[in-house]
């Protein structure tokens, strides 16, 4: 299964982001940023299934919530940063 990780500026921001997605029916999990993609030490992100990513980004834009980076997490465990 492929997921997207929406990297957030803070834990609280990640929680707001997840809540905004849940409000539109998208399952979103707040989780720590994996070390391999973490650029500044500790951080939190929101994990969203690939099938929901388009709707998720629209919902976040409507809620004026913007991730600082987005990574795709492939089934084999590799990550790739994606440009929006």
């Amino acid at each position: 299964m492929v997921y997207y990780l929406l990297i957030c500026r803070s834990l609280t921001y990640a929680q707001r982001t997840a809540k905004a997605l849940e409000r539109v029916g998208i399952t979103a999990i707040v989780t720590k940023v994996p070390q391999v993609i973490s650029s500044d030490g500790c951080g939190y992100c929101v994990k969203v299934s690939a099938k929901h990513i388009s709707n998720a980004l629209v919902a976040l834009k409507n809620a004026e919530l913007y991730p600082i980076k987005v990574f795709v997490l492939y089934a084999d465990g590799n990550y790739n940063e994606v440009t929006l």
């Binding site: 834990l11 609280t12 921001y13 707001r16 500044d40 500790c42």
Partner: protein, 374 residues
């Protein structure tokens, strides 16, 4: 025991507050410090609490809500973010030492907009007359912790906006009883305890921020750990170190209680008790009561003095009868100076949602007895 010192802290809380706090001790780790269940549960509880605060005070953005240890901590952050030595700071005549001491320590030029007790129009005028372009900051408490006097803070805040002067509201005695709309008020900061009218445990406080403050603590935040600078973003910028999770979990339950009970109901209950106390006390010979003739001017705090009996003695006598009040200056000598109750101060009774008419009858009877015995 009859507890009438709720302006200091609401010792009698909803049962759910202690339950939540006790549960947190054994089940919650530190928010933002891990991805395991106990840490993520702590994060969730903290976020839920922020959301409840956001709803109660119309904050909008839960990130602007900072957990502090108490209102004094919040006031110190707000004041030290805005004031430098020599700055002109305008305050009401009813401020607590939590405001005046930080200003004194900084070396601010403090101007007191003094006005008579229970005269909101005069209070507004006193601010307007002294407010000028060179005023660095205005600080006003919403409700006097000594007299329960409700200051016209919405209009004072509007006057500040007009002159582009920052405004800090000290909501220590009003949060949980009076309606406070952060967005409408346009305050730069609102500071409040969590352990008074919000019924949270001691060791909790809140700072609502409309701008980016300077922290007075630096340390770990669980974010941007590679940098030696504190994060720019709120609430992390101000929440260095481990959170008081039992306090926050308890505060969350206190906020639920308020939401269920309703601010209007809480305020009208407290006002009814204060009115009853005033009616009873004023009939006692030698007792002078500081009660506004207008209900809208006073919240759940009432001061009185017994002529010829020191306040501390009245407090001790009441304590011997199982009645808890506070006597003296209540950490607010400025309020006493303004109201003319220095140097002796007053006896203060302050009610909460959990007090009853029976508590008030007991207080009045006890004061009667104290006066009778001399």
């Amino acid at each position: 025991m009859i507890y009438l010192d709720n302006a200091a802290t609401t010792m009698i809380k909803p049962a759910s507050v202690a339950r939540n706090a006790a549960w947190a001790v054994g089940h919650l780790s530190s928010p933002g410090r891990g991805g395991y269940t106990a840490a993520m549960d702590a994060s969730e509880i903290a976020f839920e609490c922020r959301e409840k605060v956001s709803k109660l005070f119309s904050v909008g953005d839960p990130e602007s809500i900072v957990f502090t240890f108490n209102a004094t901590h919040a006031l110190n952050i707000a004041i030290k973010s805005l004031v430098r030595r020599g700055d002109k700071v305008l305050i009401s005549g009813y401020e607590h030492n939590a405001v005046t001491r930080p200003l004194h320590a900084i070396g601010a030029r403090v101007i007191v907009a003094a006005s008579e007790l229970f005269e909101p129009e005069m209070a507004l005028l006193a601010f307007e007359r002294r407010l000028s372009e060179d005023t660095a900051l205005v600080i006003c408490n919403h409700v006097s912790n000594v007299f329960g006097y409700i200051l016209p803070v919405e209009r004072i805040a509007a006057a500040c906006r007009e002159k582009h002067v920052p405004f800090i509201l000290d909501a220590s005695q009003s949060a949980g009883a009076l309606d406070i709309d952060f967005a409408k008020l346009s305050a730069d900061y609102i500071c409040m305890p969590g352990h008074k009218g919000l019924y949270g445990p001691q060791g909790t406080g809140l700072l609502l921020c409309a701008r980016r403050p300077e922290g007075i603590l630096q340390g770990g935040t669980g974010s941007n750990s590679l940098s030696q600078d504190m994060p720019d973003m709120l609430p992390d910028r101000l929440e260095a170190g481990t959170h008081n999770m039992p306090g926050i979990a308890g505060l969350s339950a206190g906020l639920d209680y308020i939401a269920k009970k309703g601010l209007k109901n809480i305020l009208s209950h407290e006002r009814a008790l204060v009115a009853e106390a005033a009616d009873g006390l004023v009939k006692i010979e030698k007792v002078r009561v500081y009660k506004s003739e207008y209900e809208y001017c006073q919240a759940g705090v009432l001061s009185f003095v017994v002529d010829g009996v020191p306040c501390e003695t009245v407090g001790e006598e009441l304590s011997a009868r199982g009645i808890c009040v506070r006597a003296g200056l209540h950490c607010a000598p400025l309020a006493h100076k303004t109201a003319g109750t220095l140097p002796n101060g007053t006896v203060r009774m302050s009610v909460s949602s959990f007090n009853t008419k029976r508590d008030i009858s007991a207080l009045v009877s006890a004061v009667e007895e104290i006066v009778r015995r001399g």
